[in-house]
């Protein structure tokens, strides 16, 4: 698994993001290694989504540097990030519920008979690839023409992940992939993440508010609070209470318990 001699796939140094006078991120350093699940934890509004939006090219950082495989990069659009190998699965999954699995899988990157937007799509080939890629990480779609709206939340999550991987994601960013799901489907998603991890060379950044999930599959943790990193480390180095405390933004659990008791 993670050994620190390996080169980080993605590395940020001193990342700052300001929205007007509001500082959402204040100098964030992050190292994510291949084959590792890196949990990004923190309270609401800590800046987790902001951080990954910078990594996926939605926002431009106010200051700081991003390196992908050692090379400094500067994204002007999500497309740039995708091309650099950063695949993001958004909280809303970026799926069009009204169309089919295949059409969603290839949305924006359709395989066509000839180039240009009026190129006729190779529907059969696309169907086959979508079905195969989803099966790889654990879901058999009954019919690739099924509308995404009729799929379960877990299945949708898998579709979004399979899509990101197929299109060359070396770093997979998952923003609260289990937040809207029931117990069984949460487990499905965790299994999917495990399967992706076992593929070997893909790094996963996982945002979650669920301590148990984080503990189950994360190899490394970064804790954010009010836009700053308040703790970082490999899972084996962290005590159970550390995680709880840092997730809540650094307050002592004991203090919290006292406050609640009042």
């Amino acid at each position: 698994m993670a050994d620190n001699t390996a080169k980080p796939l993605i590395e940020t140094t001193g990342l700052v993001k300001k929205f007007g006078s509001f500082t959402a991120l204040n100098g964030v350093d992050l190292k994510v290694y291949p084959g590792e699940v890196h949990a990004l934890l923190g309270d609401n509004g800590a800046g987790k989504s902001t951080l990954i939006k910078i990594l996926s090219g939605v926002f431009k950082p106010t200051a700081g540097e991003i390196r992908v495989e050692g090379k400094p990069v500067s994204f002007t659009s999500p497309r740039d990030a995708t091309e650099a190998g950063i695949g993001t699965v958004y909280q809303d999954l970026a799926l069009n519920a009204l169309t089919s699995v295949t059409r969603n899988f290839f949305l924006g990157r359709e395989i066509t008979h000839f180039p240009g937007p009026f190129g006729v799509m190779k529907m059969r080939e696309m169907d086959e690839i979508a079905t195969r890629e989803m099966a790889k990480i654990g879901i058999n779609v009954a019919d690739p023409n099924q509308a995404v709206g009729t799929m379960s939340g877990g299945q949708r999550q898998t579709l979004a992940i399979a899509r990101a991987i197929y299109f060359g994601a070396k770093v997979l960013i998952l923003d609260e992939p289990t937040s809207a799901l029931g117990q069984k489907q949460q487990m499905e998603v965790l299994k999917t993440i495990r399967k992706v991890q076992k593929l070997g060379d893909i790094a996963i950044i996982l945002i979650t508010h669920n301590e148990i999930h984080a503990r189950l599959i994360a190899d490394r943790f970064t804790f954010l609070s009010l836009g700053e990193v308040i703790g970082q480390g490999a899972s084996k180095d962290l005590e159970g209470d550390d995680i709880k405390r840092l997730m809540a933004g650094g307050a002592e659990i004991g203090d919290l318990a006292k406050e609640l008791a009042v």
Binding site: S77, P78, R79, T82, T88, Y90, D92, L93, A94, L95, N96, A97, L98, T99, R103, F106, L107, G108, R109, E110, T112, G116, P117, F118, G119, V120, M121, M123, I139, N140, V141, A142, D143, Q146, A147, G149, T150, M151, Q155
Partner: protein, 528 residues
């Protein structure tokens, strides 16, 4: 049979959905039902009084002329419904379609009538401050294709501008195109009045009339390009001279056809006379039966049985008839005007008259010359739209732009370009509509296209397009145009009912369709 939970696959769950349910989930199924109902109504109610038939195609709604006229209405609406429908699928509206039709028609007719000029106004200080005009270019005679291109430059630019404003400002397209609706209609009226101030024009008119009948300009040997009607009215000697240029076998076939026509006309006259002559006798017979006068009944019966009229003798085919018919058959010298305003399938409609004798009116003449060309243009456009929407990358982009804009953006779909292109396409469809109209009737009127934008949207909704976007098919839009176009005709033939009931009917259909569409959408979204 007894599958355990672990061996059950996702595919087993979907299979139980059944073909009936998946058929009912097809978005076109409801509209197709309504369309068939209307076709049935049109057929049965238009069967002439006193006749009986189980075949709806025996009705007047489905005779040759009925088909020609109904398909024109449907096709015209169908053309703009394609533009409106695709735009709604991408999540936007265009309320300016009707005004765009008026504007495009007026622009095209003005260019055809008075030419095209680029004029630069400037302020002159010589002899008091006033505005002078500098004419940069002036083309007096613009060909049909030229006029269409010039008009397209304006309308496509307006379409682009509306789209640009919508995507840039984030304003609802409803408001932006509502502005377009007033702006374009006003601009059309103002320009028509401005051009109609010449001495040879009715001052203040908002129409363009007296355009030449472009599609009927033909090349007549020895006379060059002239209008068909003018050619037929040439002096007899000229016509004889033209006849000399016609090959013998053409003359023979025209003669044969004319002889057939004259025979059919004569037969029709004989029939009408016979019916007229027998009528008083039949009335007398009824009276006699009522009064119980047996001998009277017998004599009248005999009279009716022996009633004959001398058959009308058909006209003889003259040289002049032949040459005029020949002139009718000369193809247009203006293929562009003919493409938009002419007729199609003429050989088939000729064949259906002679020898088939179906395309024949009550007086024995040919009923319909063919179908309006706009039907073909509609079908070509519909086919293109179908391929683009259902088969191409652009189609997937259109669906996703309307279905989930954020998702489309996140996946790198150029949603702004998709939307702007569809605003341009909507303007394109309106211009095609106007082009067909201008070349069919050779006039333009600032009031043309009024309310068409709402009809187009209604047709799209009836055809299964969901107003919130992301859902619908080209097949549905076609069916919607059929329903909207045919409803008026179908209600027209219902005996003893106010014709305006078709609007009541359409109103209900629109609401029912919208409910049905929403239901289907929810079923697909899995929320039902």
């Amino acid at each position: 049979m007894n599958q355990t939970a672990s061996s059950r696959q996702e595919s087993d769950r979907l299979a139980s959905k059944g073909w009936l349910k998946s058929l009912l989930a097809r978005p076109e199924i409801g509209p197709i039902g309504v369309m068939l109902l209307l076709f049935g109504m049109l057929g049965y109610f238009s069967i002439p009084a006193g006749e009986f038939s189980l075949n709806p195609f025996a009705g007047e709604g489905f005779n040759a002329l009925g088909i020609r006229n109904n398909l024109r209405v449907i096709a015209q609406l169908g053309i703009i419904a394609l533009g409106a429908g695709l735009l709604i699928i991408a999540g936007e509206f265009d309320l300016s379609i009707g005004s765009m039709i008026g504007f495009a028609g007026a622009c095209m007719a003005m260019v055809l009538r008075w030419g095209f000029a680029i004029v630069i106004p400037y302020v002159s200080f010589e002899g008091g401050v006033h505005i002078e005009f500098f004419t940069l270019i002036y083309i007096e005679n613009v060909s049909p294709i030229g006029a269409i291109m010039i008009t397209m430059c304006f309308t496509l630019f307006f379409g682009w501008l509306q789209g640009y404003i919508v995507v840039r400002s984030g304003l609802p397209s409803f408001i932006v195109t509502l502005g377009g609706l007033f702006f374009l209609r006003g601009l059309t009226e103002v320009s028509l009045r401005a051009f109609n101030h010449r001495p040879d024009q009715t001052k203040g008119a908002t129409t363009v009339t007296e355009l030449p009948d472009m599609k009927n300009i033909i090349n007549v040997p020895g006379h060059g390009e002239i209008e068909r009607e003018a050619a037929k009215a040439l002096p007899e000697a000229d016509l004889q001279a033209i006849l000399q240029t016609v090959p013998a076998d053409t003359v023979a076939s025209i003669t044969e056809r004319l002889a057939y026509t004259y025979q059919r006309v004569a037969d029709a006259k004989t029939e009408i006379m016979a019916a007229k002559g027998v009528k008083p006798l039949e009335r007398a017979l009824e009276n006699a039966i009522e009064s119980g006068n047996e001998t009277m009944v017998a004599t009248i019966r005999e009279k009716i049985a022996n009633f004959t009229v001398t058959p009308v003798t058909p006209r003889t085919v003259t040289d002049l008839d032949v040459v005029r018919t020949y002139i009718d058959s000369i193809p247009s010298a203006q293929p562009v005007a003919n493409f938009f305003g002419g007729d199609i399938l003429e050989p088939i409609f000729d064949f259906l008259y002679f020898p088939v004798d179906w395309n024949t009116n009550n007086f024995g003449n040919q009923f319909a010359p063919g179908l309006y060309s706009c039907v073909m243009i509609w079908l070509i456009l519909a086919l293109l739209c179908y391929v683009v929407l259902s088969r191409t990358q652009a189609g997937n982009w259109i669906y996703s732009t309307g279905g989930n804009l954020q998702a489309a953006k996140a996946n790198g779909v150029p949603t702004d370009r998709v939307k702007i292109s569809l605003f341009v396409f909507s303007a394109f469809c309106a211009t095609i509509f106007a082009t067909c109209q201008v070349f069919e009737v050779n006039t333009a009127d600032a009031a043309k296209g009024n309310l068409k934008e709402l009809e187009a949207i209604a047709a799209a909704v009836i055809g299964g397009i969901v107003m919130t976007g992301g859902f619908g098919t080209v097949m549905g839009i076609i069916v919607g145009a059929f329903i909207f176009g045919i409803a008026k005709e179908a209600f027209f033939y219902i005996p003893g009912i106010d014709g305006s009931f078709y609007r009541v009917f359409l109103g209900l259909v629109i609401i029912a369709s919208a409910l049905l569409n929403e239901n289907i959408r929810k079923r697909i979204m899995g929320t039902l």
